[in-house]
């Protein structure tokens, strides 16, 4: 994991560069987008975290882009986001009217060599990235048995609405398995919003949401006593350790729960694999891309617009309530974030591929 500190250093340098770039670029170099419609493709349904993320940024982007083009968030769900990503791969119109928002669920199949993946992250041009976290929670009955460890949660079958074995859902799946919990996965859920409804209706007995969805939807269930938070995935410290998520400072991380639970160790092959995929999937989870071959002046226009959004005096405040306290990366930083997101050691990949085969019957090439 020596990779990580160097990345944060890179980010820091990139930040400097980006700031200088922004300052140095005269506004007149930006492409005027008056009268255009920007379609921001989100490869998920309207109910998930990516939808909230894009809906949050879309109006800000509308105001920040020169000429105030219409920014429309367009949902293209299907095959756990590979459908939308495959579609985006084919887009070549370099006029900046198509943007794509990828999420961890788009990254994972790519990393795992899923045969349906027809897209190549390295072709795309990242302009912005944000991180997020995630929270796992239990129903009230089982939650009462949760004492900071999973010791008393063993020996019972839990049901979880899973979007797909190779999706971001592999983080909770692997975490629960490491804790020795018996979780059955109901596959083919359209979005985490549907998963939460299954949890609320009692069909599912365990659930997880990314931070923004947790804040907006599940936190109310916790207040009402219908759900008990179990753990957050944590966040990544500057030297690459998993530490408490600043959005949920009172919630133990998976690492803590694992340490406290008998038979679970935050070390060894499974932990390394979990952590590698967590790093790929959460701290730089959501990225906004322009299609391959977009001219540099348009890319700069977008980077500047996002930098402008980030520099808004009240940005931290308004984003905290909607997305949680997570960093936002623009331009070169976003490229660094992309590098983190699509780099996973071969050993971790091999472990997950084996595990998916034995637990889910998913055949993937190593």
């Amino acid at each position: 994991m020596k990779l990580l500190p160097s990345i944060s250093r890179k980010v820091a340098i990139a930040l400097g560069v980006a700031v200088t770039t922004v300052m140095a670029t005269p506004a007149s170099a930006d492409v005027d987008m008056t009268g255009k419609t920007v379609e921001w493709i989100i490869p998920f349904s309207e109910t998930g975290g990516s939808a909230k993320w894009a809906n949050f940024f879309a109006p800000l982007l509308h105001n920040a882009l020169p000429g105030k083009p219409t920014v429309v968030v367009k949902f293209m769900p299907g095959a756990g986001s590979t459908k939308g990503a495959n579609w985006f791969q084919k887009q070549t119109n370099g006029d900046g009217t198509v943007m794509f928002g990828s999420s961890g669920s788009t990254q994972f199949p790519y990393l795992l060599g899923d045969p349906r993946v027809r897209y190549e992250y390295k072709d795309w041009i990242p302009v912005m990235a944000t991180g997020t976290g995630g929270v796992a929670y239990l129903n009230a009955e089982d939650g009462a048995k949760f004492d900071g460890t999973a010791n008393m949660l063993k020996g019972k079958t839990y049901i979880y609405g899973n979007q797909g074995a190779t999706r971001l859902d592999l983080i909770p799946a692997l975490a629960w398995e490491m804790l020795g919990m018996d979780v059955e996965h109901v596959l083919g859920i359209k979005g985490r919003g549907d998963g939460r409804k299954m949890f609320e209706s009692g069909e599912a007995t365990i659930d997880y949401q990314t931070s923004s969805s947790y804040l907006k939807g599940s936190a109310a269930l916790v207040e009402a006593g219908k759900a008990v938070p179990m753990m957050s995935w944590g966040s990544l410290s500057a030297d690459g350790d998993v530490v408490r998520d600043p959005t949920f400072p009172d919630m133990p991380t998976f690492k803590e729960v694992c340490e406290a639970t008998e038979g679970c160790e935050p070390s060894g092959d499974s932990w390394d694999a979990w952590k590698a995929f967590f790093v790929a999937g959460f701290p730089s989870q959501k990225l906004a891309f322009l299609p391959a071959g977009t001219p540099q002046d348009i890319v700069d226009t977008y980077v500047n617009a996002f930098a402008k959004i980030k520099a808004m005096p009240d940005f931290a405040e308004i984003s905290e309530g909607r997305l949680g306290k997570y960093p936002m990366y623009v331009g070169d930083e976003a490229e660094a974030a992309l590098a983190t997101a699509i780099t996973v050691p071969d050993s971790a990949k091999a472990f997950v591929v084996d595990w998916l085969k034995s637990d889910f019957g998913v055949e993937l090439d190593k």
């Binding site: 109006p59 939460r196 209706s201």
Partner: protein, 674 residues
């Protein structure tokens, strides 16, 4: 009881918020915008809402809300124009209206059908709002009772409507519905993403076909072609007897049917995941079952209009429940609505906390919707007499423009030239199904319910399996909840009664029989598709077996049914109803034959792929009006200019593009030609 006491002040606050002149003005503005979009079939509220989105940010929440709701609410009302007058389902909400509304228009009762429909819509909308005002307080636990087995059963209940609409040979209805389901399975599988009946070499198909295209193709194209071949006006009589007053009287005479269908609309609309896309069929089925003399259905029975129209506006209100309380949108427009709410940026976000924290706001939404219905209905009724006159125009003058609009609408669904090809292909299937009396409503119901049935059956079997492992009781109580049992009974009754009555209900009019060859050929073609679907989906490998089970199951049933029909055909004499064929005689004793008429549309399609839509449209309109309609140059010129400017204006306001052709890949042209 406390909850209701708390609700009263919230209701008061909501009314105080709504009843401000500016709010009402914005609402009316939204309604007018919605009307302008809604009268054109296939565009629906989604295009209009996306148009509004960028203006939402930072807008006064209540004003933004009024604008949006006005726009959404009027669409299921205004799309009735296309359904009744042209036989084109304007949106998924008014598919069933076509069955009796359009024959009424043909009988010269267009205005009467429209005003009966609008009055029913208005009433349904108000009943829906009233019901919701109370129900929304207790809706949450009720909605949560609907788990996968219940949702599956509701989908099955919807499918059971096929029984009523199957036509004279029930098995043909089953096959039609099965083929609809199989066509709904085209594309990437929902669980493992395996390709079904498609390939990555033909990327258009991997996305699956959209409802807009299938709906327009299966209903609109066959009607357009058939009317064109007869070369007269839609209405048989020049005088539009039965003005709008008659329609209102019709509604009053059937007010209880209207009330029952409104309740059906709200209740089915509330159930998340179905999106109310079958509500109008269920209401139609109910109208049929509760009518003593069923002989008029399909020929212009006003109850067949009142039923579905009462339900489809009530459904919009019901659809608010899953949207607002769970953040699960019931339809495409509701999805955009959620997005827009977030943009209003007043901290109101749909989801579990909305009722507790923002009940007044929730009530504003419910009653704005009802109020928008009132304004919209009044406007629609006011317009209906004038618009109904369209049915007296010679159809050859109308057809090219209708075709222009539905092509544009179809193109909006995927922004791909293949949208037009798909429209044409489904349209051709529709023409043949109409000709050989295969139930098109059954096909459409199958298509609409394909995805929910597959998803819920998969979820239900998986979860039931886990529950049964916990114990027999746990499993049984999950699978056979009281709701499921009630739904099973209703479904069974509806199927049995439906099949018994189906012979008398000719949803698409009477069709004569004669000649074996053509009907058998068509059946063989369908059989070939079924075998292909079966072979294709059966070869999905084991690790993705969840993507395989459902289409294989449906295809197998279809195959068996098709073989039985084939055997029946071999045994039956050629006068048997099984050989129904419109070409033999009757209303389709046409002036023009099928192929030249179809060739006109193929001409537009091919030309579009070469020169792009607008240039192709210019050539198509000119030659059609000159040659087929026989107009003089001056008139032709005027019509063409008017049509094309209208098209460009629409696209410009909605910020849309046109399909480009081969030409555009070589030369860069300015916008409308691009």
């Amino acid at each position: 009881m406390d909850i209701f006491l708390e609700a009263l002040p919230a209701l008061g606050q909501a009314w105080a918020m709504i009843l401000q002149p500016t709010v009402l003005a914005y609402l009316a503005l939204g309604v007018m915008m919605g009307l302008c979009i809604g009268v054109f079939p296939g565009l629906g509220g989604i295009a209009g809402l996306s148009l509004l989105l960028p203006f939402m940010f930072g807008m006064d929440p209540i004003l933004g809300l009024a604008l949006m709701i006005g726009l959404v609410a009027v669409v299921p009302t205004s799309d009735t124009f296309a359904s009744v007058l042209m036989g084109i389902p304007g949106s998924s909400a008014s598919q069933a209206t076509v069955l009796d509304g359009f024959p009424m228009a043909k009988n010269g009762e267009g205005a009467r059908a429209l005003s009966a429909a609008f009055t029913s819509s208005l009433f349904g909308g108000l009943v829906g709002a009233l019901f919701l005002t109370v129900f929304i307080l207790v809706a949450r636990p009720v909605v949560l009772l609907f788990k996968s087995p219940e949702l599956l059963m509701v989908s099955f209940f919807g499918l059971s409507m096929v029984g009523i609409l199957a036509g004279r040979i029930p098995l043909k209805g089953v096959i039609a519905a099965g083929i609809g389901i199989l066509i709904g399975c085209i594309g990437e599988g929902p669980f493992n993403g395996e390709l079904r009946m498609s390939s990555y070499d033909l990327p258009y198909l991997t996305d699956g076909l959209k409802l807009v295209i299938v709906g327009l193709g299966i209903f609109a194209i066959p009607e357009i072609v058939s009317l064109l071949r007869q070369d007269k006006a839609i209405s048989n009589s020049q005088s539009l007897g039965g003005g709008w007053i008659d329609g209102v009287k019709d509604w009053w005479a059937n007010k209880w049917l209207s009330a029952r269908c409104s309740i059906i609309g709200v209740v089915v609309g509330v159930i998340p995941g179905l999106g109310g896309s079958v509500v109008d069929w269920i209401a139609y089925g109910h109208a049929v079952q509760t009518t003593k003399d069923k002989s008029n259905f399909g020929k212009g029975e006003v109850r067949g209009v009142i039923g579905p129209e009462s339900s489809n506006n009530a459904k919009e209100g019901g659809g608010l429940v899953p949207t607002l309380l769970f953040g699960i949108p019931g339809s495409g427009s509701m999805a955009i609505f959620i997005g827009a709410l977030a943009l209003l940026g007043n901290g109101i976000d749909v989801g579990p906390s909305l009722l507790e924290n923002n009940l007044d706001f929730t009530y504003s939404i419910v009653w704005l919707l009802a109020l928008a219905n009132v304004i919209g209905t009044v406007m629609c009724i006011a317009m209906s007499g004038t618009i109904a006159k369209l049915t007296t125009i010679r159809f050859a003058l109308l057809a090219p423009f209708i075709f222009m609009i539905i092509s544009f609408a179809a193109f909006q669904s995927g922004q791909n030239l293949m949208d037009l090809v798909a429209l044409f292909a489904i349209g051709f299937l529709g023409i043949l199904m109409r000709r050989f009396d295969w139930s098109r409503p059954a096909f459409l119901i199958g298509f609409v319910l394909s995805t929910p049935v597959e998803n819920y059956s998969n979820n239900a079997t998986q979860i039931a399996g886990i529950r049964f492992r916990d114990g027999m009781d746990a499993g049984l109580s999950y699978v056979f909840s009281p709701i499921v049992i009630v739904l099973i009974i209703i479904t069974l009754v509806s199927v049995v009664v439906g099949l018994r009555q189906a012979k008398h209900i000719l949803a698409e009019g009477e069709v004569p029989s004669g000649g074996k060859r053509a009907p058998v050929m068509f059946l063989l073609a369908l059989l070939a598709f079924i075998v292909f679907a079966l072979y294709n989906t059966a070869s999905i490998p084991d690790y993705a077996s969840t993507d395989r089970v459902f289409p294989v199951f449906v295809a197998t049933i279809c195959l068996i049914a098709a073989i039985i029909v084939l055997i029946q055909m071999m045994l039956a004499p050629e006068t048997h109803t099984i050989f129904a064929d419109r070409e033999t005689s009757g209303e389709d004793a046409n002036k023009f034959s099928l192929w030249p008429t179809l060739a006109w549309f193929a001409f537009l399609l091919v030309l579009t792929s070469l020169t792009g839509f607008i240039i192709a449209l210019g050539v198509f309109l000119t030659s059609f009006l000159r040659i087929r309609a026989g107009l003089g140059w001056l008139q032709t010129g005027l019509y063409v200019v008017a049509g094309i400017s209208f098209m460009i204006f629409m696209a410009w306001t909605l910020n849309r593009d046109f399909p480009p052709g081969l030409l555009q890949s070589y030369i860069t042209l300015p916008w409308p030609l691009r």
